[in-house]
Structure formats: structure tokens, C-alpha cells
């Protein structure tokens, strides 16, 4: 379930962010290419315009120049100089014709009509010049002025005017092309805005989606965490209840064994003694039988006493914590090859039953562990009170262990008991270094002196 969710999220994020990045890259590249295209187009239009304008300008200049040359020729009396002017006119005419040819090549459809007219007028102009060019000096002097005034100047005017017309067309064309570029630009802007909106929308959807999903996962994990915490709490409560139930059962059983079974057996012993006394010298066999029964009852009393103490030592309830711990220490010293020392300071007088039991059971379990696993020679148990904390330390000189790795059920049980009473539990141990258990329990500050 969790794995499927993870892979789903992964795919979603991959698609979402990947798509967004692709969109951004595409729109950026596209914008660059469109910009370059517009730039190129703009350049071409301008170059074209200036090229045409230049040719037209030259044509105008040359047409003027041709008129000037004709005028100079007509005013010239020296035949040699007249030849020079004629030569200049020919050069100019040649330039005009080459420029006309050049312009014809790049002629736009819209210029065809004015250009035709222009070339026709140009031809007529040059044709009209031909007779005048053949004139001698006298003729030139005679007809020159009238020719200039009536033919040359008006014709030249017309041609220049036509050239201007073509120039105007060119200008108009340039204006149209510029407008076209502007249109391209505004189209581009629109496309860019659309792309921007699209990107923002996609990004927004993606961000919203991921946020929703992340928040949902967050909520889910918080919910899980709470569930786990609750389960753990319930488990702790249950184990605390189990411990409490076990303890009260043990206490009841211990009391029952001690007070009822023990007392009855003691009464039985006394009764057997009394019966034996009644029999006196008479029945030897019966006396022997009674003696056997008595021994049996004595053994049973001892067994019952041991069982009762094992379940829960009566000192814990009758005399308090320290006598019970000291008894436990003596018992272990007596039965196992282990020296147990108890050092007890003055401790709080109103330890709760739970607290007394907790400390006692920790000591009992620790001693049990030490005799079973530690191979220790001696154990030191210290019970002190510092302000409102009861501090129990149990140190042995045994072989030690690694607490992180080998924490058995016993240690966990001790920890459980202590933490249930809001205390702290620590185990310090290392192979070859012995073991130290330290328990701190919050208690009330009232104390009473130790009595034993």
C-alpha cells in the first residue's frame, strides 16, 4: 500500500515537474527563434529599402546632372569643351541606363506602372536630346535657350517627378513592411502572454496538486503516528495492569499460604504433639507414626514459608522496603556464591505500595539476572534519597554485556515498572566491566530514619 503510494507520487511529481520544465524550455526556445526571425525580416526590409532608395537617388541626381551637361553643352562655344560635355552626358546616360536596368531587376509589382512611365519618359527625354546634341555652336546659341526652356527642363521635371513617384512607392512599401513587422511583434507578444499564462496555470495546478498530496501524506503520517502512539500507550497500560494484577495475586497467594496454610500446619504440628503426649508410653508404633507425620508437617511448613516469601516477602508489607531488600540480599548471599551488600540511607516514609514493590522487584530481578548470567563475586545495592528522588543503584563486578544488544525480557520488565511510575531506568555495562543499574523514582520528600 505504502509502496504503491510512493511510486504513484513519484510518477506524478516526475510527470508534473518534467512537463513544466519542458513547457518552459519550449516556450523560451520558441521565443528566441521568433525574435531572430523578426530581426532578420526587419533587416532585410531596411536593406532592401535603402538599396532601392540609393538607386533612385542616383537616378535623380544623374537626371539632373544630364540636364546640367546639356545646358553646359548648349552654352559652350568652344567645340573642344563641347565634346567634353557631350562625353560627360554620355557617361551620365550610361550610368542612368545601368541603374534603370538594376532597378528593373528588383522591380515590385506595385512599381510596374510608374516605372514603365518613367522609362518611357526617360527614353523620350533622351530621344528629344539627340537633335540638340548635333547642333553647332551657332545653332546652339540660337536655339539653345528655347530648347532648354520648352523641352529639356519640363521633360527633366517630369522624369524626376516619376522617379519621386517610384520613391514614394518604395517608401510606402517600407511603411507596409514595418507595419508587418509590428504585427509580427504584437503576435509574438500575444503568443508569449498565452504561453506565460499556460505555464502559470500548469505550474499552479502542479504546485496545488503536489501540495495537496504532500499535505495529505503529512496528515496520513501524523494520523499513523498517533495511532502507533495510542497503541503503544494502550500496551503500556495493559502491561502496567498486568504487573499490578500479578502483584496483587502474588500478595494474596503469599498471605493465604503464610497466614492460612502455614497457621493450619502449625496447628497440625501442635495437635500431633498433643496426641503423641496423650499416647504416652502405651503405643510405640503409633508414636513412631506420629513422629513421621510431625516431620512431614515440619517440612511442609518450611516449604510453604519459602513459597510465600518467594511470591512476595511479608517484610515488604509488614516492615517496609529496606528490611525487604536486606532480607533478599541475605537470602541470595546465603543460597548463592555471591556477596550482596546493602547500603541504605534514610528514605521517604510514605512510599506508595507501587513504589515499594517496584524497587523491590527491580532488586529481585537484578539479583536473579546476576546469579544467572553475570558470574559476579559481589553486588552492591545502594538505596538513597536525594530531595524528591529515590535512587537505587545495583552494581556487580561480573562479566558485563552490551545493553543495546542483549537487553533481555528481565531488563525490559524492570524498565516497564520504573517508567510506569514516571521514573528513569539506566543500564551501564560493557563486556568485562560489570553492570550498573540505576533507577530514579520521584517520591515525596518526607523521610524517616532507617531502623535496621
Amino acid at each position: 500500500m505504502a509502496r504503491r503510494q510512493t511510486s504513484q507520487t513519484q510518477r506524478l511529481l516526475f510527470i508534473g515537474f518534467g512537463g513544466l520544465l519542458l513547457l518552459l524550455a519550449f516556450s523560451g526556445l520558441n521565443a528566441l527563434s521568433v525574435l531572430r526571425k523578426i530581426q532578420t525580416q526587419n533587416d532585410t526590409i531596411r536593406r532592401d529599402y535603402f538599396h532601392r532608395d540609393h538607386i533612385l537617388e542616383q537616378l535623380r541626381t544623374d537626371i539632373y546632372l544630364s540636364g546640367t551637361h546639356v545646358r553646359d553643352l548648349l552654352l559652350e562655344q568652344d567645340p573642344a569643351r563641347a565634346d567634353t560635355h557631350r562625353k560627360e552626358l554620355d557617361d551620365t546616360r550610361a550610368r542612368i541606363e545601368s541603374n534603370v536596368a538594376a532597378y528593373e531587376k528588383i522591380l515590385r509589382p506595385s512599381e510596374v506602372t510608374p516605372f514603365r512611365q518613367f522609362t518611357k519618359e526617360l527614353q523620350a527625354y533622351f530621344a528629344s536630346l539627340n537633335p540638340a546634341l548635333q547642333w553647332n555652336a551657332a545653332e546652339r546659341k540660337r536655339f539653345g535657350y528655347a530648347f532648354m526652356k520648352n523641352s529639356l527642363l519640363p521633360r527633366r521635371m517630369t522624369i524626376v517627378h516619376l522617379a519621386d513617384q517610384i520613391g514614394q512607392v518604395n517608401q510606402k512599401q517600407m511603411g507596409a513592411a514595418s507595419r508587418q513587422v509590428n504585427v509580427l511583434f504584437s503576435n509574438f507578444r500575444r503568443a508569449l502572454i498565452a504561453l506565460l499564462i499556460l505555464t502559470l496555470v500548469c505550474g499552479g495546478v502542479l504546485a496545488g496538486g503536489s501540495m495537496y498530496r504532500i499535505m495529505r501524506l503529512d496528515r496520513l503520517s501524523a494520523q499513523r503516528f498517533e495511532e502507533v502512539e495510542q497503541a503503544r500507550g494502550a500496551l503500556r497500560d495493559l502491561s502496567a495492569r498486568l504487573i499490578a494484577v500479578q502483584e496483587s495475586e502474588r500478595r494474596a497467594l503469599s498471605r493465604e499460604l503464610h497466614d492460612e496454610v502455614g497457621q493450619s500446619l502449625s496447628a497440625l504440628l501442635l495437635g500431633l504433639g498433643n496426641v503423641a503426649a496423650l499416647l504416652r508410653d502405651s503405643n510405640e508404633d503409633a508414636r513412631a507414626q506420629l513422629q513421621d507425620l510431625r516431620r512431614l508437617a515440619e517440612r511442609t511448613v518450611a516449604v510453604v514459608r519459602d513459597m510465600s516469601l518467594l511470591l512476595r516477602p511479608s517484610m515488604l508489607d509488614d516492615l517496609g522496603l529496606i528490611p525487604a531488600v536486606q532480607w533478599q540480599a541475605r537470602e541470595v548471599s546465603r543460597t548463592k556464591n555471591l556477596r550482596v551488600q546493602v547500603q541504605a540511607g534514610s528514605i521517604s516514609e510514605d512510599l506508595s505500595d507501587e513504589q515499594r514493590t517496584c524497587v523491590y522487584r527491580v532488586v529481585q530481578e537484578a539479583l536473579h539476572n546476576i546469579t544467572r548470567h553475570a558470574k559476579a563475586k559481589s553486588v552492591r545495592i545502594e538505596l538513597q534519597q536525594e530531595k524528591d528522588r529515590l535512587i537505587l543503584t545495583i552494581e556487580d563486578d561480573g562479566q558485563g554485556f552490551v545493553p543495546e544488544r542483549e537487553k533481555g525480557v528481565g531488563l525490559l520488565g524492570m524498565e516497564e515498572r520504573v517508567t510506569h511510575l514516571h521514573g528513569s531506568f539506566r543500564v551501564d555495562s560493557a563486556p568485562g566491566k560489570g553492570t550498573a543499574i540505576r533507577v530514579e523514582l520521584p517520591v515525596s520528600e518526607k523521610r524517616h530514619p532507617v531502623l535496621v
Partner: protein, 216 residues
């Protein structure tokens, strides 16, 4: 020979009756009253003025230890003996502090019980041999384990003599008479003795004596 007047206190009726039967076989023993709880035991003691009060520890209303305390305070002439199932020294010390002179286990032999009653009524101390043995064994093992010097070795011959008499519950005057000393000197010796043994009260001294096997 005047008879020894006994009060029995135990909440277990059959046991009490068995005990009474047994005790009354002794011609000089008289059971003057039976109580089934601590409070009744105190009241009957004050009324009947017995020589020996035999108390169980675990009794309803008032336990044996508390009853012993009241009886020794209000009726010091009655000697208190605890008859219990507990064999641990913590109980014995508690009983001694409460003023009991004897401490017996319920599974003790008849002879021990009779002997104990005679001893406490004569002003002596008496403890179950089983208890004394356990204490003595513990003490011996402790001394061996710790390898420490036994403080008993530090005592002078006079102090050892004195220790014996103190734990037999003899009064300072009697001891002074027996040892031919002034009561003041006896007090001084007792102080030194307790300091050497690191004990702070007569009950602790008695416990020490039991561990050492001076009292059996």
C-alpha cells in the same frame, strides 16, 4: 512452686487450642486467657496481669509487634514472647525493639517452647534455635567473605563477660553485683562494648549476640 500464668494471643483458633492443650500439660503452667487479636491481648493483659504473654505477629486490629509495645509500656511485669512464622532477623529486631524477650517460630519443638516460657518468665531472653542458627551462619559467612576482623576479637575478657550478662537481660544492678563492680563502671563498660561492636541499642546487641552464638 507458684505457677506461671500465661496469656495466649493468636487469631487462629485451632492453633490457640492446640497450644493451650500442650501448655497445660505442664503442671506449673496456667493459661489464664486467650485473645484473638492484638487489642484484646492488651486489654486482657492489663486485666489478668499474666507472667508471660505469647503473641502472634499477624493479627487483626492490632498486630503482635504493636501489642508487645503497649504491653511492655503499660504492664512491664508481663514478659512478652513472640510466636511467629517469620524467621527473618528484621522481624526479630522489630520484636526486640517492641520489648519482646523471646522469639519463637511456630514450628518449634514442644520442648523449646516450654523452655522459652520458663526462660522469659525468669527474666531471660530466648530465641528459636533455628533462628539463632541462621543468624550465626550468616554472620560467619559475612566475616569470611569480607575477610574483615571480627570486632568480637577486640573485646576484653571483662567486656565479653558483660556482653553475656546484658543479653541475658540482667539489670545493671545485678550485673554490678555479679561482677563486683560499681553500676557506673558497668555503664562505662557497656558503652565501650557497644562502640567496639558498632551497635546502638540493646536489641541490636542481642541480635549481635545471637549471630555470634552467645545466645542459643
Amino acid at each position: 512452686m507458684s505457677s506461671i500464668r500465661i496469656l495466649l494471643a493468636d487469631d487462629h483458633t485451632i492453633l490457640r487450642h492446640g497450644l493451650r492443650l500442650m501448655l497445660e500439660r505442664q503442671p506449673d503452667f496456667t493459661v489464664v486467657a486467650e485473645a484473638e487479636n492484638g487489642r484484646e491481648a492488651v486489654e486482657l493483659t492489663l486485666r489478668e496481669n499474666p507472667d508471660v504473654v505469647i503473641l502472634d505477629i499477624a493479627m487483626p486490629l492490632l498486630n503482635g509487634i504493636e501489642a508487645a509495645k503497649r504491653i511492655t509500656e503499660e504492664q512491664p511485669k508481663s514478659a512478652v514472647m513472640i510466636l511467629s512464622m517469620h524467621s527473618d532477623e528484621a522481624y526479630i529486631l522489630k520484636a526486640l525493639r517492641a520489648g519482646a524477650r523471646g522469639y519463637l517460630l511456630k514450628d518449634s519443638a514442644e520442648a523449646d517452647l516450654i523452655h522459652a516460657i520458663r526462660a522469659v518468665s525468669a527474666g531471660k531472653a530466648f530465641f528459636s534455635p533455628a533462628v539463632s542458627k541462621v543468624l550465626a551462619d550468616d554472620y560467619l559467612r559475612q566475616v569470611q567473605q569480607q575477610g574483615a576482623d571480627d570486632p568480637y576479637e577486640l573485646l576484653t575478657a571483662r567486656e565479653r563477660e558483660l556482653l553475656q550478662l546484658i543479653v541475658e537481660l540482667k539489670s545493671t544492678k545485678d550485673i554490678a553485683g555479679l561482677l563486683n563492680l560499681s553500676p557506673h563502671t558497668v555503664d562505662t563498660h557497656r558503652g565501650n562494648l557497644m562502640q567496639k561492636l558498632n551497635v546502638h541499642s540493646i536489641p541490636e546487641l542481642i541480635l549481635y549476640a545471637m549471630r555470634k552464638g552467645i545466645i542459643r
